[in-house]
Symmetry: C2
Subunit: 229 residues, 2 copies
DNA sequence: ACCTGAACACCGTTCAAGT
DNA sequence: ACCTGAACACCGTTCAAGT
């Protein structure tokens, strides 16, 4: 009753772009990328599937909008919190990204699909701003922010793939163990370094490497853990 | 006549997994990821589309095999060339990757789809081996190689997206110019750093940043160039 | 063992038609 | 301006049937 709708007032809850994106996120979370379908979306929103396309046009546009939405929520706030401790702030941005990917594994892949997608802007901005605070000289800030962004995107892709591929309750060390076993069976002539790394993969007992931004979580990255000692 | 085929000898050129993968690469190069279809593949190989699936099973498996093929060819050799100059060797591996992506833009995205995919092994191995030659202490080698791999994957994804998205003959500086113009119109309150970076994006006149592995090419990365001065 | 092609259960997108 | 649903031209995958 608050909102004075003028004109037709076809239905109580009008079909807006936001509602569509919201529903799309829900679908993606529940069923993965394959689950996002105009028809499924239409069923969920109780409309015809053509109606949705009036608001969104493409499936690509839908995916893009959903990604922007998730990333914006995850990163905003995280980067601004603390002016005095830029290192921690950058780490916070990264943590925000990885937590978002944990909750929405499909974003990890989507982030790398379009170059300089709007979804990347909040991350780039957040990192860059902290680099200024950190005292990185002007001309280097851009290159530096780009490099960090690339690194994060690469890590995000691998991380997301891991979550998406493994059953939800996979035991982390068991998985690493089987992977290590595979590495140990590689041809010693062609893959000496990788074979050698297998041991470290299985029971890397040092703490997380400095650069790794993930918090301890379900499957966090594929390396580094803090179990044992 | 050389090869003594025993048994049926159904056709002169038997349908092998290799021939299928080869044709798939051709299709992907010509038409992009959307162009890879079992039916199109069958037409190209002059078979029924069911026959192909006897050899390959999944579309995912096909994509994976094609990626492995391209990366193996691109990286092998590049990493081994030069024992005395590990830095250059690592750069060579990266160059190999980016040249491969230039020729086959779809691999950029595919690399990030599956974690620790076999396609990544040659890269990981090549980088790791050079880190040893570089004198990086044992325990740090693994973390170091992982970090470099992540960075390369992130960069590769962005790079590939750029190539895939832009028309083949896009003028690089024109593109950067329009992107810079977009950045300049961002909300100053929310995106101060990005707005500020727009200038640098437009006419970054310094040489390529140290970490950037791309050679000078058509569209190479989205940043850094060596034009002017 | 390898290949064929029909059949199935979907897709995204378009579009004339309604309100 | 917004919504509907039929129609179109595809997909990947399965599978009984052939050689």
């Amino acid at each position: 009753m608050a909102k004075t709708t003028r004109g037709s007032e076809r239905r109580a809850d009008a079909l807006t772009r936001e509602r569509i994106v919201e529903a799309a996120i829900g679908l993606l979370d529940a069923q993965g990328e394959a689950g996002l379908t105009f028809r499924a979306l239409a069923a969920r929103l109780e409309t015809g599937h053509g109606a949705i396309q009036w608001h969104v046009a493409n499936k690509g546009e839908l995916l893009k909008a959903a990604t922007e939405d998730v990333i914006a929520r995850a990163v905003t706030g995280a980067g601004v919190v603390d002016d005095a401790r830029p290192r921690e702030a950058i780490r916070g941005i990264a943590s925000g990204m990885f937590e978002a990917i944990d909750a929405h594994p499909w974003v990890g892949a989507e982030l790398s699909r379009e170059p300089w997608q709007s979804a990347l802007l909040p991350i780039f901005e957040g990192v860059g701003g902290q680099l200024q605070a950190l005292g990185v000289p002007g001309p280097a800030q851009f290159d530096c922010a780009s490099a960090i962004l690339s690194y994060l995107l690469g890590l995000a892709g691998q991380y997301a793939a891991g979550i998406r591929l493994l059953p939800r309750d996979t035991d982390r060390s068991a998985f690493l163990g089987t992977l290590a076993a595979q590495w140990e069976q590689l041809d010693p002539a062609r893959y000496p370094f990788t074979r050698q790394s297998a041991t470290r993969l299985r029971d890397g007992r040092r703490g997380r490497a400095r650069g790794s931004p993930t918090r301890r979580r379900r499957t966090d990255s594929l390396r580094g853990n803090s179990a044992a000692s």
